[in-house]
Each structure stands twice: as C-alpha cells, then as structure tokens.
C-alpha cells in the first residue's frame, strides 16, 4: 500500500489524539493518545497493518533526523547549560546506572523459575 495513505492515517491519529487529550483533559500528550488509539485500531484489525507499514517504517528509519533542528535549539540555552553541565552529566550517569540495575534485578525476581533456566545463555 502506498506512502500517502499511511502518512494520512498517521496524521489523522495525531489529530484525533491531540483533540481528545485537550477535550478530555487527559494526563497524556496528544501524540501518546494518538499512538495508543492507533495501536488499538491495528491490534483489533480495524486498520490493517499493511495500510500504515510503508509510511511508518520510512519515518521510523530516519527518526534521528527529526530531532536535529530541536537539538540545534540548544544554542539558545548555552549559558544555562554551561552553568549546569556537571549536574547534567552526573545526573545522566547515576540515574541510568540506577534504572539499569534496579529494573534488571527486580524483573529477575518476578520471573518464574522455568523461564530463568531456558533463557540464561550468553
């Protein structure tokens, strides 16, 4: 199926999600509401996966490009960033380490024993 159809569906769900988040004062940003609605529509077969696949894969494949102009916007905050650079780097380091270890350890605890045996090879 073609790109334009898929792109239109994606935009439509972004639009609906944004409207719903605003109208219903949902605690989710509009794009997330749209994402959940689209996932539901696809999972239930309301919209066939092949209708959106081509556009979705094309966009997801170049996702990095779409944040570049926002990343360039860092120039507007140069002073603030320099003043907080140590805090920023240390927060990222410590928090990433904590998330990694706690999530790994806790999930390990809740897994049933038979899963642990079959999957533990490196």
């Amino acid at each position: 199926m073609n790109f334009v159809l898929g792109f239109t569906i994606l935009l439509a769900f972004q639009f609906i999600g944004t409207m719903l988040s605003q109208w219903l004062h949902l605690p989710l940003p509009g794009v997330l509401t749209g994402l959940i609605l689209l996932a539901t529509a696809l999972a239930t077969g309301l919209i066939p996966l092949r209708a959106v696949e081509q556009a979705a894969d094309a966009l997801l494949g170049e996702m990095g490009l779409f944040f570049v102009p926002i990343g360039v916007g860092l120039v507007l905050y140069a002073d603030l960033l320099f003043k907080n650079s140590v805090a920023i780097v240390l927060t990222i380091l410590v928090s990433t380490l904590v998330v990694l270890c706690l999530t790994g350890k806790l999930v390990d605890q809740v897994l049933p024993n038979e899963d642990k045996k079959v999957t533990s090879h490196d």
């Binding site: 989710l28 959940i36 944040f67 102009p69 120039v75 905050y77 805090a87 990433t96 904590v98 999930v107």
Partner: protein, 231 residues
Amino acid sequence: MTDIIKEPIFGLMATLILYLFAKRLQQATKKRWLQPMLVSALLLIVLLNFAHIDYSDYNQGGQFITFLLGPATIALAIPLVRQLPVLQKNWRAIMTGVVVGALVGVVSVLIVASFFDAAREITLSLTPKSVTTPIAMEIARSLGGIPSLTAAAVILTGVLGAMAGPEILTFVGVKNQIARGLAIGAAAHALGTNRCLEENELAGAVSGVAIVLVGIATSLLASPLSRLLLN
C-alpha cells in the same frame, strides 16, 4: 545572499546535508557514540555561529523537519503491534519492568539532580531522559523543561546504556535475557535495544516492547512525581 538564508530552503538543505554526512560518518567509523543526531546538530550550531545566522532564521526550514516528529511518534504504534505476541507471552515481566523502570527513571533524576543543585528547568528537562526521544520531548514540554536539552540528554543516555549496559548487568549478576532486555529498554530506549538485538533476539524483542510502554508510564508518572519531589 543574506536574504536566502531567511528562506526555508536554507535550514532544510543545511540540516539534510549535515545529517546525511553525520550518518555516513557513523557508518564509516562504526563508532556508537558518533550519533548522527548529535553530530549534525553540533555541526549546525558551529555553522550558525560562524556565519552569524539566527536560530529563528535557520528554523524557518528546520520547523518542516520538526513537524515530521509528530507522525513519526504515532508510527511507534507499528513496532509495538508487531511485537504483541512477545508482550502477551511475557506480560508479567514486561509490566514489572515498565512500571519499575519508569518510576525509578523519574525518581532517580529528581533526587540526583536536586542533589547536584541543578536549575529547576534543567531537572525537568532531564526527568524523561530514559524515554524514547519524541515521547521524552513531549513530556519535557508539558513539565516546563527544555525539549532541546531533553533530546540531547536522551541520546547521551542511549549511547551510555548501549555501550555499557550489558556489561553493567553482567557485573551485577543479571543473566536472564528477559530481565536484561527490559532493563536496557527501560534505561536506554532504542539505542539500548539495538545493542540487545545484536546479542540476543529475545532480549531485543522484550527491550523493543518496553520502549513505548515506558514512554506512556513515564508521561503518566512524571507530572505528579515532579510536583511531589520538586518544591
């Protein structure tokens, strides 16, 4: 000469050329930390500084690229739906990993950043740093953070998790592939998932499911938790 700089064509063309260059650079060097998004954004910053071009002029073109972030975020529904069987089979472990990962991600940033005396908007920008970039920026925006900083922090987190995550998990004794995948997906989003996929298919699949779910959980948790922990 100076007039064409203010037209959308300049920002669009400069962004695309430098992004393609940065992508080639990473493919040629195979260095995980040379993330095309960070490299091309830095090159553009240097260019704007040297040529004395205002960000607002650059963004005449840049905004067209930023616009695509919306539909690209919605498109994250597709990999999630493709992985539905993995989610159904491992739902208990995945839900545990998602809730713990999102909760610890938000709380750890709020505590650590306050400890290092980070400015309030810096802390709020870092809060969603473990979440995939487009969702993280939406969360930062709604919290009152700086989406630009969030994007850079998310990429740095992803590079860190992808480069050292598996080694750290092995060091602390997490051997199970489902637990490893979830931990890396929750801590380091898609960049971590790519590393998982290189090492183990199951870990990679579980990690991929975690990305979007951690994003949703974080956006629900971030606002109440930041109000609670940040005076």
